[in-house]
């Protein structure tokens, strides 16, 4: 027995040894997230997101339509997997210019080539997102665990799986919401920034990937337009990572392009969307919480009589005034811009703080409570949520203190933790080492921008869903911080690639 088992044990040990050499923490994390997501998204019962009414814009302009006869009764409650593909001229123009359309179109082509020309299965879109997400998880974990002790590396990878394999995130892939794409792109951007910081891969490749993902993120949703500007600002630190002229022109040009994309994204927002948001910015933001709504309206240049609209929403079925009427265009929407709403909140910090606290209540909820995850055929209750692999999102929603004070403390602590290494890098004129804090701050400001844009842009209307950027940013930054604490790399110089150190 011993003579037979001894070589077997050795072979086994060699096998594991060889496996671990290839299965790095990054491969492990990416693989585990992939497997969990495949089980959730592609194996019955399929997990996805029910439509809250937003799908229409993404679908019809891309040649897809609702073909389920009972679709109306599925709103909010049930995830729908199959849609019709237009077989005739599509008269629906694009209501929104969005990078998401690229991925929907690609999924549509794949669907037609490999599956069916009349029915669209949303899982083709999920497959594209998941492939990118797996790569993003790999890069993020690699940026942290490269040259790290093996055991700690796998521990970090396990945390990544717990946080990012959560179905509260991956369920978005089986949907037409822009949040799925937003998550993937934010992760890519953060990972590319950290990989640049460590010089792990070719800098030019990482820069290109960062720029492409930033462009996709910025043009994915109109609310993301300011993110392009933020990334461009943080990207200034990337310009100085290398000394070569080629690099500086490439990085500088890329960041300028990003800045322009952000401005263009904002400028191209259709007027109707501007008006919807302006309506909510006042009626759901400025007015309901104001001690003197009439004075608040005066400060925005609007007739105080409009205080009667306080608390109402744009989609009220029966209203005093048609929200698209000339009266509203001239006497309401035409009187103020988002700049004046921002100025109003700056001048009224108490009201701004109350809105921020209101926002903080939903800031730690990844999965919208009102949106169901299951198909109707599964026989689950209307709007039922999956519990499969959602421990992290559950804990976060349950345990996180839901006040803006906590968010403020979190920012302060994280920024404080990374500040010494940043100062040290500046002192030693090591510009590559100075890239980490700007990337962390970038993620945090993207998250905060999500909240601020929601409040300034639309008051408390749909605040929960608009805070996804913060939710994702919070998880990404917290994960990186925890990983750096575990690996002891907060204040210590982090090993970088030799060629990168020389660049």
């Amino acid at each position: 027995m011993n003579r037979v088992s001894a070589p077997s044990a050795v072979r086994l040990r060699l096998f594991f040894h060889a496996s671990f050499r290839h299965i790095t923490p990054a491969v492990f994390a990416a693989g585990a997230v992939l497997i969990i997501a495949i089980i959730a998204l592609f194996v019955k019962p399929y997990i996805g997101m029910a439509d809250n009414g937003d799908y229409f814009r993404a679908l019809y302009s891309n040649g897809i339509y609702f073909n389920a006869p009972d679709y109306d009764s599925s709103y909010f409650g049930y995830f729908v997997r199959h849609y019709g593909i237009f077989q005739y001229y599509n008269e629906n123009g694009a209501t929104l210019t969005s990078s998401q359309a690229l991925f929907i179109k690609l999924a549509l082509w794949l669907n037609i080539w490999f599956y069916d020309s009349k029915t669209f299965d949303i899982r083709f879109l999920a497959a594209i997102y998941l492939a990118m997400y797996t790569a993003a998880v790999y890069l993020l974990v690699e940026s942290l665990t490269w040259k790290a002790p093996a055991k700690l590396g796998y521990a970090v990878a396990a945390i990544a799986v717990l946080a990012f394999g959560d179905t509260a995130y991956t369920a978005y892939f089986n949907s037409f919401y822009g949040e799925g794409l937003m998550l993937v792109m934010m992760m890519f951007i953060f990972a590319c920034g950290l990989l640049l910081y460590r010089g792990r891969y070719n800098d030019y490749v990482m820069l290109a990937l960062l720029l492409v993902c930033s462009l996709i993120l910025t043009t994915g949703k109109q609310q993301n337009a300011p993110m392009g500007v933020l990334i461009a600002l943080a990207g200034l630190f990337a310009v100085f990572v290398r000394r070569s002229r080629t690099w500086r022109i490439a990085a500088g040009g890329g960041m300028t392009l990003l800045l322009l994309a952000g401005v263009a994204s904002y400028a191209l927002i259709p007027q109707e969307f501007v008006n919807i948001n302006k309506y909510h910015a006042v009626t759901r933001g400025v007015l309901p919480d104001s001690q003197d709504p009439e004075q608040s309206l005066k400060s925005l240049g609007i007739d105080p009589q409009f205080s009667l609209l306080s608390g109402t929403i744009y989609y009220e079925p029966y209203t005093t005034v048609d929200v698209n009427s000339n009266l509203m265009l001239q006497q309401f929407y035409g009187k103020f811009g988002f700049g004046s709403v921002l100025a109003y909140y700056i001048a009224h910090p108490d009201q701004a703080m109350r809105m921020l606290n209101l926002a903080a209540k939903d800031a730690f909820t990844t999965r919208p409570p009102a949106i169901g995850n299951y198909e109707r055929a599964e026989g689950k209750a209307f709007g039922a949520h999956t519990h499969f692999f959602s421990l992290y999102s559950f804990l976060k929603m349950t345990l996180a203190p839901k006040t803006f004070g906590f968010i403020f403390l979190w920012i302060l602590i994280v920024a404080g933790l990374y500040l010494p290494s940043f100062i040290a890098a500046l002192r030693s004129r090591d510009r590559r080492q100075a890239l980490r804090l700007p990337m962390v701050l970038l993620m945090m400001t993207i998250g905060l921008a999500g909240i601020a844009i929601s409040i300034v842009g639309a008051g408390d209307a749909d605040l929960g869903k608009h805070e996804f950027a913060f939710t994702a940013a919070f998880d990404l930054v917290t994960f990186v911080t925890v990983a750096d604490v575990m690996l002891g790399r907060l204040w210590r110089r982090v090993p970088v690639a030799v060629r990168a150190a020389e660049a």
Binding site: L308, T319, T320, S325, G416
Partner: protein
């Protein structure tokens, strides 16, 4: 005292009697019960005839007629026999009717019949009227009717018809510019009738109303009213008061169609709105409630309309404002949902054309209203050239001359002057009996007096001051406020102290740490 109290009741009783003999309802009770069937071949979208079916619907409403509207294609065998009046609109005379049920039933139909346009006329009608209709293309026509005339542009050859010969009563006169030969606009023998054309926004509306009045056997003296629309709580309320003063000064009774408010009705802004409405009412104005704007996203599942309208009507009544009717787009009267939830409170309505952008198709049925004056924009009436003396005779139907609320004083002055110069004897709407009934409130008018829950409204009641210190946000009940505010301050101090200590330790720790591990390449950097 007792005698004074009984006066309103006597007035109400008298007014009720007057109203039952009032204008609008056809003399034959049976006719009103069975109603009319309006059939059309095409809605004539994007042609000069677009909207003429809606115009006809509104005209019929002004005569108190119950109407069912449907396209010829949707007609089913036997339906015609349920109506004692049938109206057919031929907007596409080049298209032959295709529905065999319709063709068969129309040929056999023996009740009152009116056709507008086209040459495909039932034999019975042709014979009874000795009717001959010919195609008569011309660059322009002059139409004369109801004491007015108007030059109308010519129609395409396929749509241009004039009555070449007919017996019976002739209505209006059409003179093609090309030939100068006059022919009647419409003919009728009292039971069957033919009108050559109907175009919205032209004198053909009044010409056809002349015919309809006789064909429907309507009696009474129709009134003409001034209706000011588009009055919002966001309108210039000073201008609204000024308008009321100027119209009152000119001796012109008027109606204002006011937008309902469903939220924040306790706000000072609402108080100001109500006060302005009450003021207008006190200056011989009559309030009618405008239909709320309906969002494109509204669904049939939403059941809030009835409750919202009740709330607003009750609010008006509680503030001494007695609404006497509703102003709404036509589709409200033809949609069972809107009619039963939003219109059920009113016996008097002003129906306006539907917004063409809504793409509402003409179909459905409506019930008759006690009063539904036909709305014509005043500017439209001014385009018609008066024939004869300066004092205008009332039009054949109850009519509301409409204005959108004025931009400024200058526009208001121009409009009041134009109304005065028109010499039209405007009627006071509250002289008739009009009632609005909610679950808990009842408002009505009679003999020029307004009543809320049976009590006459004091038009000169003192207006309440608008509260300048209105508390918009409710302060939550707090106990031990002082203690907690002290506690808050202590916590803030503790928090700031801890934060300062944290940064101090951070700084000290970092310096110690740097000293200890100044060189790179520690144990953990081995991998």
């Amino acid at each position: 005292m007792i005698r004074w109290r009984t006066i309103p009741l006597v007035v109400l009783a008298l007014a009720t009697v007057v109203s039952f003999s009032g204008f609008g309802r056809p003399a034959s009770a049976a006719a009103a019960q069975q109603g009319a069937l309006l059939l059309y071949d095409s809605e004539a979208k994007s042609t000069p005839h677009e909207g003429n079916i809606e115009t006809l619907q509104r005209l019929l409403a002004s005569f108190g007629q119950a109407v069912t509207v449907q396209s010829e294609d949707d007609y089913r065998s036997g339906e015609m026999s349920a109506y004692d009046r049938v109206l057919v609109v031929r907007n596409a005379p080049d298209l032959e009717p295709r529905n065999p049920d319709y063709i068969r039933d129309l040929a056999a139909y023996g009740g009152s019949y009116l056709q507008i346009g086209g040459t495909d006329i039932p034999k019975r009608v042709r014979d009874r009227l000795a009717l001959r209709v010919v195609s008569s293309p011309s660059a322009a026509y002059r139409l004369t009717a109801g004491g007015y005339s108007q030059l109308l542009p010519g129609m395409p050859e396929t749509d241009a018809f004039t009555i070449a010969g007919a017996g019976g009563q002739a209505y209006g006169q059409v003179i093609p510019e090309s030939t100068g030969a006059a022919s009647p606009y419409a003919v009728s023998d009292g039971t069957v009738a033919y009108a050559s054309d109907l175009e919205s926004g032209t004198l053909t509306e009044i010409a056809l109303a002349d015919l309809l009045k006789d064909w429907l056997k309507a009696s009474g003296d129709p009134g003409m009213y001034v209706l000011i629309k588009e009055i919002y709580p966001f309108s210039d309320l000073h201008l609204l008061r000024s308008m009321a003063d100027k119209l009152y000064g000119a001796g012109i009774p008027f109606l204002i169609a006011v937008k309902p408010v469903f939220y924040n009705t306790d706000y000072p802004a609402m108080k100001r709105y109500l006060q302005a409405l009450a003021y207008a009412q006190s200056r011989n104005g009559t309030v009618v409630v405008d239909a709320p704007a309906v969002a494109a996203t509204s669904t049939e599942d939403d059941r809030s309309l009835g409750g919202k309208m009740t709330g607003f009507l009750d609010l008006l009544a509680d503030n001494g404002i007695a609404p006497l009717g509703m102003n709404a787009p036509l589709f409200w009267a033809y949609d069972e949902g809107y009619r039963s939830a939003g219109m059920k409170f009113f016996d008097s309505v002003f129906l306006q054309p539907n917004d063409p952008q809504l793409g509402i198709s003409a179909s459905g049925a409506t019930v008759p209203f006690a009063s539904s004056p036909f709305s014509i924009p005043f500017e439209q009436l001014r385009q018609y050239r008066p024939e004869g003396g300066p004092v205008r005779q009332p039009l054949p139907m109850e009519t509301a001359l409409t204005f959108d609320f004025f931009r400024d004083e200058a526009q208001l002055d121009d409009s009041v002057a134009a109304l005065s110069d028109s010499w039209i004897p405007f009627a006071d709407y509250k002289s008739g009996v009009h009632a609005v009934q909610t679950e808990n409130r009842e408002t009505h008018s009679g003999g020029g007096v307004l009543f809320v829950n049976g009590k006459s409204v004091d038009l000169n009641g003192a207006s309440e001051e608008v509260d300048g210190d209105y508390a918009y946000t409710q302060q939550a009940d707090v106990s031990l406020k002082k203690l907690f505010s002290v506690q808050n301050r202590i916590l803030m101090v503790v928090f700031l102290a801890v934060l300062s200590l944290f940064f101090l330790f951070l700084f000290l720790g970092y310096r110690r740490y740097k000293r200890k591990f100044y060189h790179f390449g520690g144990r953990n950097d081995a991998l």
